[in-house]
């Protein structure tokens, strides 16, 4: 109705006037992005109501539909801002920053409920149905190019999906980093087996980071306990390759430089075979097959009372 009144007198001027109004971008009027932004603004309520029923919102905001609608509102507003600024394909657009925490929270909740990353991506992508229907509808009413608008809307949803995946990855990376640190801190205890005898039971794969933490802890322990013998027990190390052997050699050398003696124990037959087959020279290290043998040697070495 309104459109008709505008269109009849000055058909070509109509577009330019419209374009200046909502975002002042000066771009081609009614291009897809501007139309999507307009649709998101004018039909905010309608879209939010429909999104509130979609899985990512419905499954997370179980307390009540109002909360889901509120969350959907915030997402619609953020997308409107992104589309309004014309950066539909840019995941770092300012609009997305506002909903990142909310997205992270929603996806974390879904993740805790057992949804895989692929499922989360699909759930976010599902939001496009409501948006596309709405954009198409809006375009047909306002007389814009529905094709351009749909392409822009698809682009926007694609970027939203990317942003959602980024938040999932960020969270996972955080968890992995924290757990790695915890493993580093807890997995290399330095035990005092006897007066002057320390042992480090190594469990799991020995990489450079762990080997460094282990060496430091062991050397500090040698200073504190005035230890003469340090036993490295590798019973729990699944495999010894050249890299691991090199780490062990380095630790043993550092122990020697401190004036203590290093004994390597817990070498299983397979590992002994591997070490021999690889041609690794552990010549500088005293070795014993079990921790008990190593302790027995250590006690003799420090001259502890026999039978202890």
């Amino acid at each position: 109705m309104n459109d008709g009144a505008w269109n009849t007198p000055v058909s070509p001027g109509d577009d330019s006037r419209r374009a200046a109004a909502p975002n002042g971008s000066g771009a081609r009027p009614h291009d897809g992005t501007a139309l999507v932004a307009e649709a998101l603004r004018s039909r905010r309520e309608q879209l939010a109501q429909r999104w509130a029923d979609a899985t990512p919102f419905r499954a997370v905001y179980v307390a009540g539909r109002d909360a889901a609608v509120g969350a959907a509102h915030r997402l619609v507003d953020a997308l409107a801002e992104v589309a309004g600024s014309g950066h539909c394909a840019d995941p770092s657009a300012p609009g997305f920053e506002r909903v990142r925490p909310q997205l992270a929270e929603m996806l974390a909740e879904r993740g805790a409920a057992g949804a895989t990353a692929a499922q989360l991506g699909a759930e976010v992508a599902e939001l496009r149905h409501a948006l596309l229907a709405l954009v198409r509808d809006h375009a047909s009413h306002e007389g814009g190019d529905a094709g351009d608008a749909v392409v822009a809307a698809m682009e926007l949803v694609g970027t939203l999906r990317l942003v959602a995946m980024e938040t999932v990855l960020d969270r996972d990376a955080g968890i992995i980093a924290r757990q790695r640190q915890e493993i580093l801190d807890t997995a290399t205890p330095v035990l005092r087996l006897w007066d002057g005898v320390l042992a480090v039971p190594l469990i799991g794969t020995l990489d450079s980071a762990r080997s460094q933490v282990m060496t430091e802890a062991l050397l500090e322990g040698i200073v504190e306990q005035r230890a003469e013998v340090a036993i490295l027990d590798i019973t729990g190390v699944p495999m010894v390759d050249t890299v691991v052997a090199q780490h062990l050699m380095r630790t043993a050398t550092a122990v020697r430089l401190m004036g203590a003696t290093c004994v390597l124990s817990g070498i299983r037959p397979q590992i002994a075979q591997t070490i021999a087959a690889l041609g690794i020279d552990l010549g500088g290290i005293r070795t014993r097959s079990t921790l008990a043998d190593a302790l027995a040697w250590a006690l003799r070495h420090i001259g502890a009372p026999a039978g202890g």
């Binding site: 040698i222 200073v223 230890a227 003469e228 050398t253 122990v255 020697r256 430089l257």
Partner: protein, 111 residues
């Protein structure tokens, strides 16, 4: 530098520059030759930095002292210094080590 029971005990109290390292080396060898000591202990527990030059000089002292029919023990190396030396590939294969000067004297007395 002290002399105890035929053992020369040199305790390094300051960070070593190249010049003081050379002075230490000459001094130690002169004293070892003059006193006919059977052991030399170099206490490095106050040293926070051992570079490749100092590491080489420690090895040279050991080899030279050996020619004088005596043993050299480097005592009290700090953990950080030990780790750094190993990282640099300087594992001082010729040098005997001890946890402290007392430990070093014990080692020299034992054999």
């Amino acid at each position: 530098m002290l002399e105890l029971d035929g053992v020369l005990l040199a305790s390094v109290q300051t960070e070593l520059t190249d010049a003081t390292v050379v002075a230490l080396q000459e001094d130690l060898l002169d004293r070892a030759a003059a006193t006919g000591a059977d052991g030399v202990v170099i206490d490095v527990s106050a040293v926070e930095i051992i570079d490749s030059y100092l590491a080489r000089v420690l090895t040279e002292i050991t080899l030279a002292v050996r020619m004088l029919a005596a043993r050299t023990v480097v005592a009290g190396m700090r953990p950080a210094v030990a780790v750094t030396l190993v990282e640099m590939g300087l594992d001082l294969p010729e040098v005997e080590t001890a946890r402290s000067s007392a430990h070093a004297l014990e080692m020299l007395a034992r054999r």
